[in-house]
Protein backbone atom coordinates (compact mmCIF):
# COMPACT_ATOMS: atom_id res chain seq x y z
CA UNK A 1 0.00 0.00 0.00
CA UNK A 2 1.13 3.53 -0.72
CA UNK A 3 2.43 4.86 2.59
CA UNK A 4 1.19 8.28 1.51
CA UNK A 5 -2.40 7.05 1.24
CA UNK A 6 -4.71 8.45 3.88
CA UNK A 7 -7.99 7.17 5.19
CA UNK A 8 -10.88 9.58 4.77
CA UNK A 9 -13.56 10.20 7.33
CA UNK A 10 -16.65 12.36 6.91
CA UNK A 11 -18.65 13.27 9.98
CA UNK A 12 -22.07 14.87 9.69
CA UNK A 13 -21.39 16.27 6.22
CA UNK A 14 -24.40 17.79 4.49
CA UNK A 15 -24.70 20.37 1.75
CA UNK A 16 -27.48 22.86 1.23
CA UNK A 17 -27.07 25.27 -1.68
CA UNK A 18 -27.99 28.94 -1.34
CA UNK A 19 -31.20 28.34 -3.30
CA UNK A 20 -32.30 25.93 -0.59
CA UNK A 21 -31.85 22.62 -2.39
CA UNK A 22 -30.30 20.00 -0.16
CA UNK A 23 -27.80 18.28 -2.44
CA UNK A 24 -26.49 16.07 0.32
CA UNK A 25 -28.23 14.88 3.46
CA UNK A 26 -26.11 14.54 6.61
CA UNK A 27 -23.66 11.71 6.11
CA UNK A 28 -21.02 9.83 8.08
CA UNK A 29 -18.59 7.83 6.00
CA UNK A 30 -15.29 6.05 6.52
CA UNK A 31 -12.98 5.24 3.65
CA UNK A 32 -10.03 3.02 4.53
CA UNK A 33 -6.51 3.93 3.45
CA UNK A 34 -5.79 2.32 0.10
CA UNK A 35 -9.42 1.55 -0.57
CA UNK A 36 -11.25 2.36 -3.80
CA UNK A 37 -14.75 3.54 -3.11
CA UNK A 38 -17.22 4.30 -5.88
CA UNK A 39 -20.11 6.75 -5.51
CA UNK A 40 -22.77 5.51 -7.89
CA UNK A 41 -26.09 7.09 -8.70
CA UNK A 42 -28.15 8.94 -11.26
CA UNK A 43 -27.37 12.57 -12.02
CA UNK A 44 -28.47 14.89 -9.25
CA UNK A 45 -28.06 12.25 -6.55
CA UNK A 46 -25.37 14.21 -4.71
CA UNK A 47 -22.38 12.07 -5.64
CA UNK A 48 -20.42 14.91 -7.22
CA UNK A 49 -21.21 17.19 -4.27
CA UNK A 50 -19.85 14.53 -1.95
CA UNK A 51 -16.67 14.24 -4.04
CA UNK A 52 -16.24 18.02 -4.02
CA UNK A 53 -16.61 18.12 -0.25
CA UNK A 54 -13.82 15.56 0.07
CA UNK A 55 -11.76 17.50 -2.47
CA UNK A 56 -12.22 20.82 -0.69
CA UNK A 57 -13.97 22.52 -3.59
CA UNK A 58 -17.25 22.73 -1.72
CA UNK A 59 -17.53 23.41 2.00
CA UNK A 60 -19.97 21.18 3.92
CA UNK A 61 -22.74 22.88 5.86
CA UNK A 62 -21.76 24.10 9.28
CA UNK A 63 -20.94 21.22 11.63
CA UNK A 64 -19.74 18.82 8.95
CA UNK A 65 -16.16 17.64 9.30
CA UNK A 66 -13.69 16.04 6.92
CA UNK A 67 -10.61 14.12 8.10
CA UNK A 68 -7.68 12.77 6.11
CA UNK A 69 -6.22 10.21 8.52
CA UNK A 70 -6.16 12.00 11.88
CA UNK A 71 -5.85 15.37 10.17
CA UNK A 72 -8.94 17.54 10.13
CA UNK A 73 -8.99 19.27 6.74
CA UNK A 74 -12.49 20.80 6.79
CA UNK A 75 -11.25 24.39 6.68
CA UNK A 76 -8.45 23.67 4.24
CA UNK A 77 -9.05 24.65 0.60
CA UNK A 78 -8.25 22.10 -2.09
CA UNK A 79 -4.82 23.54 -2.84
CA UNK A 80 -3.63 22.59 0.65
CA UNK A 81 -5.22 19.13 0.87
CA UNK A 82 -2.73 17.31 -1.36
CA UNK A 83 -5.35 15.46 -3.35
CA UNK A 84 -5.17 14.37 -6.96
CA UNK A 85 -8.22 15.06 -9.05
CA UNK A 86 -9.26 13.73 -12.44
CA UNK A 87 -12.08 15.55 -14.21
CA UNK A 88 -14.69 14.34 -16.65
CA UNK A 89 -13.58 17.02 -19.12
CA UNK A 90 -9.90 16.14 -18.47
CA UNK A 91 -9.23 19.83 -17.58
CA UNK A 92 -5.75 19.69 -19.08
CA UNK A 93 -4.09 23.09 -19.44
CA UNK A 94 -4.20 23.92 -23.16
CA UNK A 95 -1.36 26.40 -22.82
CA UNK A 96 1.12 23.77 -21.63
CA UNK A 97 2.71 20.71 -23.22
CA UNK A 98 1.81 17.23 -22.01
CA UNK A 99 4.96 17.07 -19.89
CA UNK A 100 4.35 20.52 -18.39
CA UNK A 101 0.82 19.49 -17.50
CA UNK A 102 2.06 16.44 -15.62
CA UNK A 103 4.85 18.45 -13.97
CA UNK A 104 2.58 21.36 -12.98
CA UNK A 105 1.83 20.13 -9.45
CA UNK A 106 5.55 19.67 -8.83
CA UNK A 107 6.26 23.11 -10.26
CA UNK A 108 3.93 24.90 -7.85
CA UNK A 109 5.53 22.86 -5.07
CA UNK A 110 8.88 24.33 -6.04
CA UNK A 111 10.51 21.13 -7.32
CA UNK A 112 13.51 22.04 -9.48
CA UNK A 113 13.11 21.89 -13.26
CA UNK A 114 15.22 18.85 -14.11
CA UNK A 115 13.89 16.82 -11.21
CA UNK A 116 10.25 17.55 -11.95
CA UNK A 117 10.66 16.82 -15.66
CA UNK A 118 12.25 13.48 -14.80
CA UNK A 119 9.39 12.62 -12.43
CA UNK A 120 6.78 13.68 -14.95
CA UNK A 121 8.49 11.63 -17.64
CA UNK A 122 8.43 8.56 -15.37
CA UNK A 123 4.70 8.96 -14.89
CA UNK A 124 4.09 9.41 -18.60
CA UNK A 125 6.03 6.20 -19.21
CA UNK A 126 3.94 4.41 -16.62
CA UNK A 127 0.88 5.53 -18.61
CA UNK A 128 2.50 4.37 -21.88
CA UNK A 129 2.78 7.98 -23.01
CA UNK A 130 6.55 8.30 -22.76
CA UNK A 131 6.90 9.63 -26.30
CA UNK A 132 4.18 12.24 -25.97
CA UNK A 133 5.75 14.68 -23.53
CA UNK A 134 6.33 17.49 -26.00
CA UNK A 135 2.93 17.24 -27.69
CA UNK A 136 0.26 19.85 -27.30
CA UNK A 137 -2.94 18.75 -25.60
CA UNK A 138 -5.03 19.18 -28.74
CA UNK A 139 -2.78 16.66 -30.50
CA UNK A 140 -3.95 13.86 -28.21
CA UNK A 141 -6.94 11.54 -28.47
CA UNK A 142 -9.56 11.44 -25.74
CA UNK A 143 -8.11 8.30 -24.17
CA UNK A 144 -4.61 9.75 -24.19
CA UNK A 145 -5.86 12.94 -22.59
CA UNK A 146 -7.50 11.06 -19.78
CA UNK A 147 -4.27 9.13 -19.18
CA UNK A 148 -2.36 12.42 -19.05
CA UNK A 149 -4.92 13.72 -16.56
CA UNK A 150 -4.34 10.63 -14.41
CA UNK A 151 -0.57 11.02 -14.63
CA UNK A 152 -0.89 14.68 -13.65
CA UNK A 153 -3.04 13.84 -10.63
CA UNK A 154 -0.66 11.08 -9.53
CA UNK A 155 2.48 13.18 -9.98
CA UNK A 156 1.90 15.05 -6.74
CA UNK A 157 1.74 11.77 -4.76
CA UNK A 158 -1.73 12.62 -3.47
CA UNK A 159 -3.08 11.35 -0.18
CA UNK A 160 -6.41 10.75 -1.91
CA UNK A 161 -7.15 10.36 -5.59
CA UNK A 162 -10.50 11.77 -6.70
CA UNK A 163 -12.00 10.77 -10.03
CA UNK A 164 -15.11 12.59 -11.26
CA UNK A 165 -16.73 10.51 -14.02
CA UNK A 166 -13.35 10.14 -15.70
CA UNK A 167 -14.54 7.84 -18.48
CA UNK A 168 -17.89 9.41 -19.36
CA UNK A 169 -16.55 11.50 -22.23
CA UNK A 170 -15.03 8.48 -23.98
CA UNK A 171 -16.63 6.06 -26.42
CA UNK A 172 -17.67 2.62 -25.23
CA UNK A 173 -14.69 0.61 -26.43
CA UNK A 174 -12.12 3.03 -25.05
CA UNK A 175 -14.04 3.25 -21.80
CA UNK A 176 -13.70 -0.49 -21.36
CA UNK A 177 -9.94 -0.58 -21.97
CA UNK A 178 -9.20 2.48 -19.87
CA UNK A 179 -11.29 1.04 -17.07
CA UNK A 180 -9.04 -2.02 -17.03
CA UNK A 181 -6.01 0.25 -17.00
CA UNK A 182 -7.33 2.38 -14.13
CA UNK A 183 -8.18 -0.76 -12.17
CA UNK A 184 -4.65 -2.12 -12.60
CA UNK A 185 -3.20 1.24 -11.63
CA UNK A 186 -5.29 1.74 -8.50
CA UNK A 187 -4.54 -1.79 -7.30
CA UNK A 188 -0.81 -1.55 -7.94
CA UNK A 189 -0.45 1.89 -6.34
CA UNK A 190 -2.61 1.08 -3.36
CA UNK A 191 -3.80 4.65 -3.28
CA UNK A 192 -7.00 5.77 -1.54
CA UNK A 193 -9.40 6.54 -4.37
CA UNK A 194 -12.84 8.03 -4.60
CA UNK A 195 -14.51 7.41 -7.92
CA UNK A 196 -17.77 9.01 -9.02
CA UNK A 197 -19.81 7.50 -11.82
CA UNK A 198 -23.32 6.84 -13.02
CA UNK A 199 -22.18 3.72 -14.84
CA UNK A 200 -22.78 0.60 -12.78
CA UNK A 201 -20.41 -1.48 -14.91
CA UNK A 202 -17.56 0.83 -13.96
CA UNK A 203 -18.65 0.81 -10.35
CA UNK A 204 -18.79 -3.00 -10.19
CA UNK A 205 -15.42 -3.41 -11.89
CA UNK A 206 -13.49 -0.79 -9.92
CA UNK A 207 -14.95 -0.48 -6.47
CA UNK A 208 -13.74 -2.27 -3.37
CA UNK A 209 -16.97 -0.83 -2.07
CA UNK A 210 -19.81 0.96 -3.79
CA UNK A 211 -21.98 3.64 -2.24
CA UNK A 212 -25.26 3.82 -4.15
CA UNK A 213 -26.75 7.27 -3.84
CA UNK A 214 -30.13 8.78 -4.53
CA UNK A 215 -31.58 12.17 -3.68
CA UNK A 216 -28.63 13.23 -1.56
CA UNK A 217 -28.60 10.08 0.52
CA UNK A 218 -26.44 6.96 0.53
CA UNK A 219 -28.93 4.16 -0.05
CA UNK A 220 -26.49 1.36 0.47
CA UNK A 221 -22.80 0.91 0.89
CA UNK A 222 -21.10 -2.41 0.40
CA UNK A 223 -19.07 -4.66 -1.86
CA UNK A 224 -20.26 -4.99 -5.46
CA UNK A 225 -21.60 -8.45 -4.58
CA UNK A 226 -23.56 -7.04 -1.62
CA UNK A 227 -25.07 -4.37 -3.78
CA UNK A 228 -26.01 -6.71 -6.58
CA UNK A 229 -27.24 -9.75 -4.71
CA UNK A 230 -28.47 -8.17 -1.49
CA UNK A 231 -29.86 -4.75 -2.41
CA UNK A 232 -30.91 -2.94 0.74
CA UNK A 233 -33.63 -0.85 -0.85
CA UNK A 234 -36.07 -0.93 -3.70
CA UNK A 235 -34.08 1.91 -5.30
CA UNK A 236 -30.85 -0.06 -5.27
CA UNK A 237 -32.61 -3.18 -6.57
CA UNK A 238 -34.06 -1.24 -9.49
CA UNK A 239 -31.01 0.92 -10.19
CA UNK A 240 -28.42 -1.86 -10.28
CA UNK A 241 -28.89 -4.27 -13.17
CA UNK A 242 -32.31 -5.41 -14.31
CA UNK A 243 -34.74 -6.72 -11.73
CA UNK A 244 -38.01 -8.56 -12.30
CA UNK A 245 -40.80 -7.69 -9.92
CA UNK A 246 -43.93 -9.88 -9.83
CA UNK A 247 -47.06 -9.60 -7.68
CA UNK A 248 -49.39 -12.42 -6.66
CA UNK A 249 -51.18 -13.91 -3.69
CA UNK A 250 -49.18 -15.26 -0.81
CA UNK A 251 -49.76 -18.74 0.60
CA UNK A 252 -47.09 -19.37 3.23
CA UNK A 253 -43.83 -19.90 1.34
CA UNK A 254 -45.50 -19.82 -2.05
CA UNK A 255 -46.47 -16.84 -4.19
CA UNK A 256 -49.36 -17.61 -6.57
CA UNK A 257 -49.06 -15.82 -9.86
CA UNK A 258 -51.22 -15.82 -13.00
CA UNK A 259 -48.82 -18.23 -14.72
CA UNK A 260 -48.15 -20.58 -11.81
CA UNK A 261 -46.48 -20.33 -8.43
CA UNK A 262 -43.05 -19.37 -7.10
CA UNK A 263 -41.48 -21.01 -4.11
CA UNK A 264 -39.98 -18.32 -1.91
CA UNK A 265 -37.02 -18.65 0.42
CA UNK A 266 -37.91 -19.87 3.90
CA UNK A 267 -38.64 -17.11 6.44
CA UNK A 268 -39.51 -14.69 3.67
CA UNK A 269 -41.32 -11.67 5.08
CA UNK A 270 -45.01 -11.26 4.46
CA UNK A 271 -45.27 -9.67 1.06
CA UNK A 272 -47.12 -10.21 -2.17
CA UNK A 273 -44.11 -9.24 -4.28
CA UNK A 274 -41.05 -11.13 -5.42
CA UNK A 275 -37.89 -9.83 -7.09
CA UNK A 276 -35.38 -11.78 -9.15
CA UNK A 277 -32.69 -11.16 -11.77
CA UNK A 278 -33.22 -12.10 -15.45
CA UNK A 279 -30.15 -14.36 -15.41
CA UNK A 280 -31.60 -16.36 -12.49
CA UNK A 281 -34.57 -17.50 -14.57
CA UNK A 282 -34.25 -20.75 -16.51
CA UNK A 283 -36.33 -21.50 -19.57
CA UNK A 284 -37.72 -25.05 -19.51
CA UNK A 285 -40.42 -27.12 -21.20
CA UNK A 286 -43.84 -25.49 -20.71
CA UNK A 287 -45.13 -28.42 -18.73
CA UNK A 288 -42.14 -28.57 -16.39
CA UNK A 289 -41.77 -24.96 -15.28
CA UNK A 290 -42.98 -23.42 -12.05
CA UNK A 291 -44.38 -20.61 -14.20
CA UNK A 292 -45.84 -20.73 -17.70
CA UNK A 293 -46.08 -17.93 -20.16
CA UNK A 294 -45.81 -16.92 -23.79
CA UNK A 295 -42.93 -15.17 -25.51
CA UNK A 296 -43.66 -11.52 -26.24
CA UNK A 297 -40.32 -10.62 -27.80
CA UNK A 298 -36.76 -11.86 -27.91
CA UNK A 299 -33.57 -9.90 -28.52
CA UNK A 300 -30.42 -11.72 -29.54
CA UNK A 301 -27.58 -9.77 -27.90
CA UNK A 302 -24.67 -12.00 -28.95
CA UNK A 303 -23.51 -13.39 -25.64
CA UNK A 304 -27.07 -14.06 -24.51
CA UNK A 305 -30.66 -13.77 -25.59
CA UNK A 306 -33.05 -11.56 -23.65
CA UNK A 307 -36.60 -12.90 -23.76
CA UNK A 308 -39.68 -11.11 -22.49
CA UNK A 309 -42.31 -13.58 -21.30
CA UNK A 310 -45.93 -12.67 -20.62
CA UNK A 311 -47.32 -14.44 -17.53
CA UNK A 312 -50.86 -13.20 -18.08
CA UNK A 313 -52.64 -10.71 -15.84
CA UNK A 314 -50.53 -7.86 -17.29
CA UNK A 315 -47.36 -9.23 -15.70
CA UNK A 316 -44.23 -10.09 -17.62
CA UNK A 317 -40.79 -11.40 -16.81
CA UNK A 318 -37.46 -10.66 -18.46
CA UNK A 319 -35.26 -13.69 -18.93
CA UNK A 320 -31.59 -13.71 -19.96
CA UNK A 321 -30.72 -17.10 -21.38
CA UNK A 322 -27.59 -18.66 -22.81
CA UNK A 323 -29.66 -21.16 -24.82
CA UNK A 324 -28.56 -21.17 -28.44
CA UNK A 325 -32.00 -21.21 -29.99
CA UNK A 326 -34.44 -18.71 -31.26
CA UNK A 327 -37.76 -17.81 -29.72
CA UNK A 328 -40.91 -17.14 -31.69
CA UNK A 329 -43.47 -14.63 -30.61
CA UNK A 330 -46.39 -16.45 -29.00
CA UNK A 331 -44.31 -19.53 -28.17
CA UNK A 332 -45.29 -21.17 -24.88
CA UNK A 333 -42.40 -21.54 -22.39
CA UNK A 334 -41.95 -22.71 -18.82
CA UNK A 335 -39.83 -20.73 -16.31
CA UNK A 336 -38.00 -21.83 -13.19
CA UNK A 337 -36.43 -19.65 -10.49
CA UNK A 338 -34.48 -21.06 -7.52
CA UNK A 339 -35.89 -19.96 -4.20
CA UNK A 340 -32.43 -18.82 -3.14
CA UNK A 341 -32.32 -16.25 -5.95
CA UNK A 342 -35.60 -14.62 -4.99
CA UNK A 343 -35.79 -11.49 -2.89
CA UNK A 344 -38.96 -10.68 -1.04
CA UNK A 345 -39.17 -6.91 -0.73
CA UNK A 346 -40.44 -6.79 2.83
CA UNK A 347 -36.76 -6.94 3.63
CA UNK A 348 -36.13 -3.79 1.60
CA UNK A 349 -36.70 -0.20 2.39
CA UNK A 350 -38.55 1.55 -0.37
CA UNK A 351 -37.06 4.60 -1.99
CA UNK A 352 -38.50 6.93 0.61
CA UNK A 353 -36.72 5.04 3.36
CA UNK A 354 -39.76 3.42 4.96
CA UNK A 355 -40.24 -0.29 4.94
CA UNK A 356 -42.17 -1.44 1.91
CA UNK A 357 -45.67 -2.90 2.18
Amino acid sequence: MDDNAASVRLAGCAKTFPDGTQALKPLDLDIAAGETIVFLGPSGCGKTTLLRIIAGLTAPDLGGRVYFGDDEVTARPIERRNVGMVFQSYALFPNMSVLDNVAYGLRVRGVAGAERRAQAQRLLEMMQLGAFGERRIDQLSGGQRQRVALARALAVKPRVLLLDEPLTALDAKLRESLRVEIDRLLRSLGITSVYVTHDQGEAMALGDRIAVMSHGRVEQIGTPQDIYYRPASAFVADFIGTMNRVTGTRENAVLRLPGGALTLPSHAPASEHALFRPEDVRIVEPARGALRGTVVSAFFLGNLTRVVVDLGGAQSVIVDTLLRRSFAKGEAVGLDVDASSILVPGALRNAAGERAD
Binding site: P18, A23, G46, A59, Q88
Partner: protein, 270 residues
Protein backbone atom coordinates in the same frame (compact mmCIF):
# COMPACT_ATOMS: atom_id res chain seq x y z
CA UNK B 1 -16.43 28.68 -4.23
CA UNK B 2 -15.78 30.21 -0.88
CA UNK B 3 -18.94 30.77 1.03
CA UNK B 4 -17.74 33.81 2.93
CA UNK B 5 -16.71 37.12 1.33
CA UNK B 6 -12.97 37.45 1.54
CA UNK B 7 -11.00 40.69 1.97
CA UNK B 8 -10.04 40.26 -1.67
CA UNK B 9 -13.73 40.50 -2.60
CA UNK B 10 -14.04 43.86 -0.87
CA UNK B 11 -10.79 45.14 -2.38
CA UNK B 12 -12.01 44.26 -5.86
CA UNK B 13 -15.44 45.70 -5.16
CA UNK B 14 -13.84 48.96 -4.03
CA UNK B 15 -11.69 49.04 -7.16
CA UNK B 16 -14.71 48.44 -9.39
CA UNK B 17 -16.65 51.16 -7.60
CA UNK B 18 -13.79 53.61 -8.19
CA UNK B 19 -13.80 52.72 -11.91
CA UNK B 20 -17.55 53.19 -11.95
CA UNK B 21 -17.22 56.57 -10.24
CA UNK B 22 -14.65 57.62 -12.84
CA UNK B 23 -17.21 56.89 -15.56
CA UNK B 24 -20.35 58.12 -13.85
CA UNK B 25 -19.28 61.18 -11.83
CA UNK B 26 -18.59 63.39 -14.88
CA UNK B 27 -21.95 62.36 -16.35
CA UNK B 28 -23.71 63.41 -13.18
CA UNK B 29 -21.70 66.63 -13.05
CA UNK B 30 -22.61 67.57 -16.59
CA UNK B 31 -26.28 66.78 -15.99
CA UNK B 32 -26.24 69.02 -12.92
CA UNK B 33 -24.36 71.72 -14.81
CA UNK B 34 -26.93 71.66 -17.59
CA UNK B 35 -29.75 72.06 -15.09
CA UNK B 36 -28.27 74.75 -12.80
CA UNK B 37 -28.71 78.48 -13.18
CA UNK B 38 -25.02 79.03 -12.79
CA UNK B 39 -22.43 76.23 -12.79
CA UNK B 40 -19.82 78.24 -10.91
CA UNK B 41 -22.17 78.70 -7.98
CA UNK B 42 -23.51 75.19 -8.33
CA UNK B 43 -26.90 73.60 -7.83
CA UNK B 44 -27.69 76.10 -5.05
CA UNK B 45 -28.01 78.76 -7.73
CA UNK B 46 -31.26 76.97 -8.52
CA UNK B 47 -32.38 74.41 -11.05
CA UNK B 48 -33.62 75.48 -14.44
CA UNK B 49 -34.63 74.09 -17.81
CA UNK B 50 -33.55 77.36 -19.41
CA UNK B 51 -30.37 75.93 -20.95
CA UNK B 52 -32.18 72.88 -22.31
CA UNK B 53 -34.64 75.32 -23.85
CA UNK B 54 -31.80 77.27 -25.45
CA UNK B 55 -30.38 74.08 -26.93
CA UNK B 56 -33.71 72.84 -28.22
CA UNK B 57 -34.51 76.16 -29.89
CA UNK B 58 -31.11 76.82 -31.42
CA UNK B 59 -30.04 73.26 -32.24
CA UNK B 60 -33.33 71.62 -33.15
CA UNK B 61 -32.08 71.42 -36.73
CA UNK B 62 -29.09 69.29 -35.78
CA UNK B 63 -31.27 66.96 -33.73
CA UNK B 64 -33.66 66.49 -36.64
CA UNK B 65 -30.80 65.98 -39.07
CA UNK B 66 -29.14 63.39 -36.84
CA UNK B 67 -32.35 61.40 -36.63
CA UNK B 68 -32.90 61.72 -40.36
CA UNK B 69 -29.39 60.49 -41.15
CA UNK B 70 -29.60 57.69 -38.59
CA UNK B 71 -32.86 56.36 -40.04
CA UNK B 72 -31.66 56.68 -43.62
CA UNK B 73 -28.45 54.95 -42.62
CA UNK B 74 -30.46 52.18 -41.00
CA UNK B 75 -32.54 51.70 -44.13
CA UNK B 76 -29.44 51.61 -46.32
CA UNK B 77 -27.56 49.15 -44.12
CA UNK B 78 -30.64 46.89 -43.99
CA UNK B 79 -31.01 46.83 -47.75
CA UNK B 80 -27.29 46.41 -48.36
CA UNK B 81 -26.23 44.46 -45.31
CA UNK B 82 -28.82 41.72 -44.83
CA UNK B 83 -28.44 40.27 -48.36
CA UNK B 84 -24.67 40.57 -48.02
CA UNK B 85 -24.71 38.71 -44.71
CA UNK B 86 -26.82 36.02 -46.34
CA UNK B 87 -24.28 35.62 -49.14
CA UNK B 88 -21.42 35.39 -46.64
CA UNK B 89 -23.27 32.85 -44.50
CA UNK B 90 -24.61 30.75 -47.35
CA UNK B 91 -21.49 30.51 -49.40
CA UNK B 92 -18.31 30.68 -47.32
CA UNK B 93 -15.38 30.75 -49.72
CA UNK B 94 -12.17 32.65 -50.29
CA UNK B 95 -14.03 35.25 -52.32
CA UNK B 96 -16.72 35.89 -49.73
CA UNK B 97 -14.12 36.02 -46.98
CA UNK B 98 -12.37 38.71 -48.99
CA UNK B 99 -15.68 40.61 -49.19
CA UNK B 100 -15.98 40.41 -45.44
CA UNK B 101 -12.41 41.62 -44.92
CA UNK B 102 -12.96 44.52 -47.29
CA UNK B 103 -16.24 45.61 -45.75
CA UNK B 104 -14.59 45.89 -42.33
CA UNK B 105 -11.82 48.18 -43.59
CA UNK B 106 -13.76 51.43 -43.01
CA UNK B 107 -13.89 50.47 -39.35
CA UNK B 108 -10.25 49.38 -39.09
CA UNK B 109 -9.08 52.63 -40.66
CA UNK B 110 -9.62 55.90 -38.75
CA UNK B 111 -12.74 57.83 -39.71
CA UNK B 112 -10.61 60.86 -40.42
CA UNK B 113 -8.95 59.01 -43.33
CA UNK B 114 -12.30 57.90 -44.72
CA UNK B 115 -13.61 61.46 -44.50
CA UNK B 116 -10.56 62.96 -46.22
CA UNK B 117 -10.84 60.36 -48.97
CA UNK B 118 -14.50 61.17 -49.58
CA UNK B 119 -13.78 64.90 -49.69
CA UNK B 120 -10.86 64.50 -52.07
CA UNK B 121 -12.88 62.37 -54.51
CA UNK B 122 -16.33 63.95 -54.29
CA UNK B 123 -15.60 67.38 -52.82
CA UNK B 124 -15.89 69.06 -56.19
CA UNK B 125 -19.45 67.88 -56.69
CA UNK B 126 -20.92 70.90 -54.93
CA UNK B 127 -24.50 69.71 -54.73
CA UNK B 128 -23.51 66.38 -53.21
CA UNK B 129 -20.84 67.91 -50.98
CA UNK B 130 -23.31 70.35 -49.47
CA UNK B 131 -26.15 67.90 -48.93
CA UNK B 132 -26.82 65.65 -45.96
CA UNK B 133 -26.34 62.69 -48.31
CA UNK B 134 -22.60 63.33 -48.16
CA UNK B 135 -22.64 62.63 -44.43
CA UNK B 136 -24.97 59.70 -45.01
CA UNK B 137 -22.57 57.82 -47.31
CA UNK B 138 -19.84 58.22 -44.70
CA UNK B 139 -22.10 56.77 -42.04
CA UNK B 140 -23.23 53.94 -44.32
CA UNK B 141 -19.74 52.67 -45.14
CA UNK B 142 -18.79 52.97 -41.46
CA UNK B 143 -21.86 51.20 -40.01
CA UNK B 144 -22.42 48.58 -42.72
CA UNK B 145 -19.90 46.09 -41.27
CA UNK B 146 -21.70 46.19 -37.93
CA UNK B 147 -24.99 45.25 -39.57
CA UNK B 148 -23.37 42.55 -41.68
CA UNK B 149 -21.52 41.01 -38.74
CA UNK B 150 -24.50 41.06 -36.44
CA UNK B 151 -26.73 39.36 -39.01
CA UNK B 152 -23.97 37.02 -40.12
CA UNK B 153 -23.40 35.83 -36.56
CA UNK B 154 -27.03 34.75 -36.28
CA UNK B 155 -27.19 33.28 -39.78
CA UNK B 156 -23.99 31.31 -39.27
CA UNK B 157 -25.50 29.78 -36.14
CA UNK B 158 -28.60 28.53 -37.90
CA UNK B 159 -28.57 25.74 -40.43
CA UNK B 160 -29.35 27.88 -43.46
CA UNK B 161 -28.98 25.10 -46.00
CA UNK B 162 -31.38 22.71 -44.30
CA UNK B 163 -33.89 25.49 -43.55
CA UNK B 164 -33.85 26.55 -47.17
CA UNK B 165 -34.09 23.00 -48.46
CA UNK B 166 -37.04 22.37 -46.17
CA UNK B 167 -38.75 25.54 -47.41
CA UNK B 168 -37.95 24.66 -51.03
CA UNK B 169 -39.29 21.13 -50.58
CA UNK B 170 -42.55 22.74 -49.52
CA UNK B 171 -42.59 24.71 -52.76
CA UNK B 172 -41.23 28.10 -51.66
CA UNK B 173 -39.35 30.05 -54.31
CA UNK B 174 -36.28 32.08 -53.42
CA UNK B 175 -38.11 35.30 -52.53
CA UNK B 176 -40.53 33.40 -50.31
CA UNK B 177 -37.68 31.56 -48.66
CA UNK B 178 -35.68 34.73 -48.08
CA UNK B 179 -38.47 36.86 -46.68
CA UNK B 180 -40.54 34.05 -45.15
CA UNK B 181 -37.89 31.88 -43.57
CA UNK B 182 -34.44 33.45 -43.54
CA UNK B 183 -35.19 37.02 -42.53
CA UNK B 184 -37.64 36.08 -39.75
CA UNK B 185 -35.16 33.60 -38.31
CA UNK B 186 -32.37 36.16 -38.40
CA UNK B 187 -34.54 38.84 -36.79
CA UNK B 188 -32.55 39.07 -33.56
CA UNK B 189 -29.34 39.60 -35.47
CA UNK B 190 -31.07 42.20 -37.63
CA UNK B 191 -32.51 43.98 -34.61
CA UNK B 192 -29.21 44.00 -32.75
CA UNK B 193 -27.49 45.27 -35.87
CA UNK B 194 -30.14 47.94 -36.34
CA UNK B 195 -29.72 49.26 -32.80
CA UNK B 196 -25.97 49.29 -33.27
CA UNK B 197 -26.21 51.17 -36.57
CA UNK B 198 -28.56 53.83 -35.20
CA UNK B 199 -26.48 54.31 -32.04
CA UNK B 200 -23.24 54.61 -34.00
CA UNK B 201 -24.77 56.97 -36.53
CA UNK B 202 -26.24 59.27 -33.92
CA UNK B 203 -22.89 59.48 -32.12
CA UNK B 204 -20.54 59.53 -35.13
CA UNK B 205 -18.08 62.42 -35.05
CA UNK B 206 -14.72 61.42 -36.60
CA UNK B 207 -16.10 61.24 -40.14
CA UNK B 208 -18.94 63.69 -39.73
CA UNK B 209 -16.85 66.60 -38.51
CA UNK B 210 -14.95 66.67 -41.79
CA UNK B 211 -17.99 66.09 -43.97
CA UNK B 212 -20.40 68.57 -42.40
CA UNK B 213 -21.15 72.04 -43.67
CA UNK B 214 -22.65 74.92 -41.69
CA UNK B 215 -26.03 73.78 -43.00
CA UNK B 216 -25.55 70.09 -42.27
CA UNK B 217 -24.75 69.83 -38.59
CA UNK B 218 -25.47 66.66 -36.64
CA UNK B 219 -25.71 66.40 -32.87
CA UNK B 220 -22.05 65.50 -32.23
CA UNK B 221 -21.00 68.41 -34.47
CA UNK B 222 -23.28 70.70 -32.52
CA UNK B 223 -21.86 69.30 -29.27
CA UNK B 224 -18.30 70.09 -30.39
CA UNK B 225 -19.48 73.60 -31.37
CA UNK B 226 -21.14 74.22 -28.05
CA UNK B 227 -18.17 72.88 -26.04
CA UNK B 228 -15.82 75.13 -27.95
CA UNK B 229 -17.74 78.36 -28.02
CA UNK B 230 -20.66 78.51 -25.63
CA UNK B 231 -20.94 78.66 -21.89
CA UNK B 232 -20.51 75.45 -19.94
CA UNK B 233 -24.19 75.28 -18.98
CA UNK B 234 -25.29 75.15 -22.61
CA UNK B 235 -22.70 72.52 -23.51
CA UNK B 236 -23.92 70.51 -20.55
CA UNK B 237 -27.55 70.98 -21.47
CA UNK B 238 -26.77 69.82 -25.00
CA UNK B 239 -25.03 66.77 -23.54
CA UNK B 240 -28.20 66.03 -21.55
CA UNK B 241 -30.23 66.15 -24.75
CA UNK B 242 -27.78 63.70 -26.32
CA UNK B 243 -28.02 61.37 -23.30
CA UNK B 244 -31.78 61.40 -23.49
CA UNK B 245 -31.61 60.34 -27.11
CA UNK B 246 -28.95 57.68 -26.65
CA UNK B 247 -30.13 56.05 -23.41
CA UNK B 248 -33.19 54.29 -24.85
CA UNK B 249 -31.00 52.89 -27.62
CA UNK B 250 -28.44 51.67 -25.09
CA UNK B 251 -31.05 50.13 -22.85
CA UNK B 252 -32.57 48.33 -25.82
CA UNK B 253 -29.13 47.15 -26.90
CA UNK B 254 -28.25 45.82 -23.48
CA UNK B 255 -31.59 44.14 -23.28
CA UNK B 256 -30.98 42.43 -26.58
CA UNK B 257 -27.44 41.45 -25.87
CA UNK B 258 -28.85 39.98 -22.68
CA UNK B 259 -26.35 40.14 -19.97
CA UNK B 260 -24.12 37.06 -19.90
CA UNK B 261 -25.86 34.36 -17.90
CA UNK B 262 -24.70 34.01 -14.29
CA UNK B 263 -21.22 32.56 -14.30
CA UNK B 264 -20.95 29.21 -12.67
CA UNK B 265 -22.66 30.00 -9.38
CA UNK B 266 -22.20 26.25 -9.14
CA UNK B 267 -19.87 24.33 -11.34
CA UNK B 268 -21.06 21.30 -13.26
CA UNK B 269 -24.68 22.24 -12.47
CA UNK B 270 -25.77 19.87 -9.80
Amino acid sequence: MMDRRSPRFYAQLAFTLVVCAFLVVPVVMSVLAGLSQNYFIGVKSGLTLRWIGVVLSSYSGSIGLSLQIALACLAATLVLGVPMAYVLARHPSRVTRLFEELLVLPVAVPGLATALALILLYGEWRGFRASWLFILVGHVVFTLPFMVRSVLAVMAAMDLVTLEEAAASLGAGFAKRFFGVIVPNARYGILAGALMVVTLSVGEFNITWMLHTPLTKTIPVGLADSYASLRLEIGSAYTIVFFVMIVPLLVAMQWFAREPTPARPRLHGR
